[in-house]
């Protein structure tokens, strides 16, 4: 999961909580979908990955993830801002983004959909429900859904 070593990134997991991340990865692993997964710890890192900056400088931008799993409440840059940057950029706005959050705040939901989120999922508190939701998500976005053709990402 280090820059350059992955040829085809399928899932970009943006999650500051390592426990939630571990559980997400475990749940995806169970259905064998976590092989090409990148986990970044905050919004800044996520933007660096997506736009090939910082420690992800030089990443092949043609290789866009099939789905971005995005938490909202994160240090530095929050999920809503990341979503805005993705969806307002011509090159990245076609990448499917799924918000996965504990927040049921109406404002977050409304803002997310206005910015063009592809799905909004509230994380169930109990692990069983959580695992089920994550594996369903993974199967849908990686196997069922037809991703857009690889876009030509330019530096913003």
């Amino acid at each position: 999961m280090i820059n350059g070593m992955i040829s085809q990134v399928e899932v970009l997991l943006v999650e500051d909580n390592i426990h939630d991340a571990e559980m997400t990865i475990r749940s995806l692993k169970k259905v064998n979908l976590a092989n090409n997964l990148v986990h970044v710890r905050d919004g800044e890192e996520a933007l660096e990955f997506i736009f090939g900056q910082g420690k992800f400088a030089g990443r092949d931008l043609v290789n866009a993830p099939k789905v971005i799993l995005l938490d909202i409440k994160m240090p530095k840059v929050d999920g809503i801002e990341v979503l805005r940057r993705i969806k307002t950029n011509e090159a990245t706005r076609c990448i499917p983004v799924v918000i996965m959050t504990s927040s049921q705040e109406e404002l977050d939901i409304v803002n997310s959909y206005e910015l063009g989120v592809n799905s909004y999922v509230v994380k169930p508190v109990d692990f069983e429900g959580f695992a089920k939701a994550v594996s369903q998500l993974g199967m849908y976005w990686l196997l069922t859904n037809q991703p857009p053709l690889s876009p030509n990402i330019k530096h913003p």
Partner: protein
């Protein structure tokens, strides 16, 4: 409803109900009217009295003048007759009689002795008229007793006089009696009769003297016969002998009249002069009419002036009143013009300074309110972000606990003994419980800031939707569920759905342990008075704990009996309260429970 609306009172006039604009002219009018009435009455009655006095004086002098005039007349007639009487001798009366009879108004002349017996007479017509006790056969004879005999014998007059009036046939006559003396001794009387017949000339003279509103009557001093010197008239309606000075009575032809009587000297006559009182009072009455006219004019002018003055006042008061109304409705920018320096002017300027103070106070209050609102909004935002944090930050560690417990169970269950398995199971179920608690608490706290968005709600459809949603978790055909026809209501559908979900969910939960669970959803009453209810035949509860039912975290059953967070009914009560309704329950342990609620349309 309890509102007390004052009944419209029947109209009753009260001075205080009038506006000042009406009060002042009315007051001035009353004042003027009472003044005019008082002074008018005083002056009218004074003048009336004076006029009456003048009238009486005139009456007295008129009576005196007339009396002396007719006394003179009688005197001259007596003198003439006396001259004739002096020529009478016992043997020769014929020449005297003939001379007297030349007067056309004298129908008869007679010579009588002192007992009243007619010694000789000469008559133009109907000689018997003038006789009493006469044998009708001897009409031609001059013998007999004269009708004036009582006058002569009763008084034994020693001088001549004019006798009473006598009604003989259709005419009135009076005798002029002169003594016939012989040797200085009265031996008889020469009686010259005259008919009462005023000449047109004298009538004209009299009426000129008296005027139209007066009359002159002659009568016998014993009151027996009355005449106006042309014909016989009815006697006055009072006793002339008791009249001292002036008497007032109703005289036909004159109306109310005042009269005075005096005996005519040298006669047996009395004259009565009457004046019409209304004629006497004419001047006073004219004054009265003038006063009424002038008074009405004065009152009219007074009212007009008073109305102008009060309008002048009330216009200013109206301006103040308008300004006050404007002030009351929040308009601080319309000062009252101060255009004079009297009390009203001072009031206006005081009002303006008050309005300024009020405006300032209002402004500072507004600022305070805004500041408080800002503080409150900040506090609210803080609270929101707190609940946001709680919802987010409490969930994550909980999910981690849940996740790792399950991972532990999944990865190492094979090496666990029974106790380790029990403990792991307890961890997992407790975490689940806490997750539900957090979710419910968030829902409950969110309800606080939620506005009720009312629209028409089909309660039956809503209750049925909730029922089928809830029955999902239960084996088929377990419950006997009855949803009767429910009336619609005007409320927040999302919130009312929470009510049904909680109440029906509770009914299912608490009746699920009975053999034949029965849940009824129905209503009583209609419109505003509708009461909805959910009835079950489940575990029920003791009514002495009924007040705890709807409080947060208060439960009447243990988690082992029936699981729950203790928030559901608190949430329901909050929703019902937001709809300005009421919720209550009836139950007994083991015999089911009924939950009732009402909603207000406003």
């Amino acid at each position: 409803m309890g509102s007390k609306r004052s009944e419209p009172r029947p109209f009753s006039f009260s001075f205080n109900n009038l506006s000042i604009r009406q009060q002042l002219p009315l007051l001035i009018c009353l004042l003027l009217l009472s003044l005019i009435l008082t002074f008018g009455a005083i002056s009218y009655f004074g003048i009336r009295k004076a006029t009456l006095g003048i009238g009486q004086e005139r009456l007295r002098s008129l009576t005196g003048e007339l009396t002396s005039l007719f006394g003179q007349n009688a005197k001259s007639m007596l003198a003439l007759t006396q001259a004739s009487a002096n020529q009478v001798t016992v043997s020769g009366t014929k020449a005297v009689f003939q001379k007297i009879m030349q007067d056309t108004l004298t129908p008869r002349v007679e010579l009588v002795d002192t007992s009243g017996n007619v010694l000789s007479a000469q008559t133009r017509t109907k000689p018997n008229l003038f006789m009493v006790g006469q044998d009708r056969k001897d009409l031609i004879a001059s013998q007999g007793r004269s009708i004036i005999a009582p006058e002569i014998t009763a008084k034994h007059p020693d001088s001549n006089f004019v006798g009473k009036f006598y009604r003989l046939g259709d005419s009135l006559y009076y005798p002029i009696i002169a003594t016939v003396t012989s040797d200085r001794k009265i031996t008889g009387f020469l009686v010259r009769w005259r008919v009462v017949q005023a000449s047109p000339k004298s009538v004209t003279q009299l009426s000129q003297l008296l005027g139209a509103n007066a009359l002159l009557h002659f009568g016998n001093s014993d009151g027996s016969i009355w005449t106006d010197m042309a014909k016989s008239v009815p006697p006055p309606p009072f006793d002339i002998h008791t009249v001292k000075d002036i008497v007032t009575y109703d005289q036909p032809g004159l109306g109310k009249a005042m009269a005075s009587t005096l005996p005519v000297p040298g006669t047996k006559w009395i004259i009565l002069v009457a004046l019409s009182q209304s004629a006497v009072l004419e001047a006073a009455d004219r004054l009265l009419y003038w006063m009424i006219g002038f008074g009405a004019l004065l009152v009219g002018v007074g009212m007009l002036v008073a109305w102008q003055i009060s309008r002048n006042f009330t216009r200013r008061l109206d301006r103040l009143s308008h300004a006050t109304t404007a002030l009351a409705s929040g308009d601080y920018s319309s000062p009252v013009p101060v255009d004079r320096h009297d009390e009203l002017g001072k009031l206006a300027s005081d009002f303006n300074s008050m309005a300024l103070l009020v405006a300032r106070a209002h402004q500072s209050l507004e600022q305070q309110v805004q500041a408080r609102t800002r503080e409150l909004e900040a506090a609210n935002r803080e609270l929101e972000s707190f609940s946001y944090s709680v919802s987010h930050d409490l969930r994550a560690p909980l999910r981690a606990v849940s996740g790792y417990a399950i991972m532990l169970k999944e990865d190492y269950e094979d090496s666990f003994d029974a106790e380790a398995k029990r403990i792991t199971g307890n961890i997992i179920s407790n975490v689940k419980m806490m997750g539900r608690l957090i979710d419910d608490l968030i829902a409950f706290s969110r309800l606080g800031k939620r506005e009720v968005a009312r629209r028409n709600v089909d309660m039956k459809a809503l209750a049925e939707a909730c029922t089928s949603e809830l029955l999902n978790g239960w084996p088929e055909e377990k419950f006997n569920l009855v949803v009767s026809d429910l009336p619609g209501c005007f409320g927040d559908e999302d919130l009312l759905k929470q009510v049904w979900l909680n109440l029906i969910g509770n009914a299912l939960k608490y009746s699920s342990r009975t053999d034949t669970p029965l849940v009824e959803i129905g209503h009583t009453g209609n419109g505003i008075g509708t009461i909805w209810f959910v009835r079950d035949n489940g575990a029920g509860f003791d009514m002495k704990y009924a007040d705890k039912l709807f409080k947060v975290f208060q439960r009447l059953h243990s988690q082992e009996e029936f699981e729950g967070t203790g928030i559901g009914l608190a949430l329901v009560r909050r929703i019902i309260e937001k709809h300005k309704g009421r919720i209550w329950a009836e139950s007994a342990p083991g015999s089911g429970a009924v939950f009732y609620f009402t909603l207000s349309e406003q």
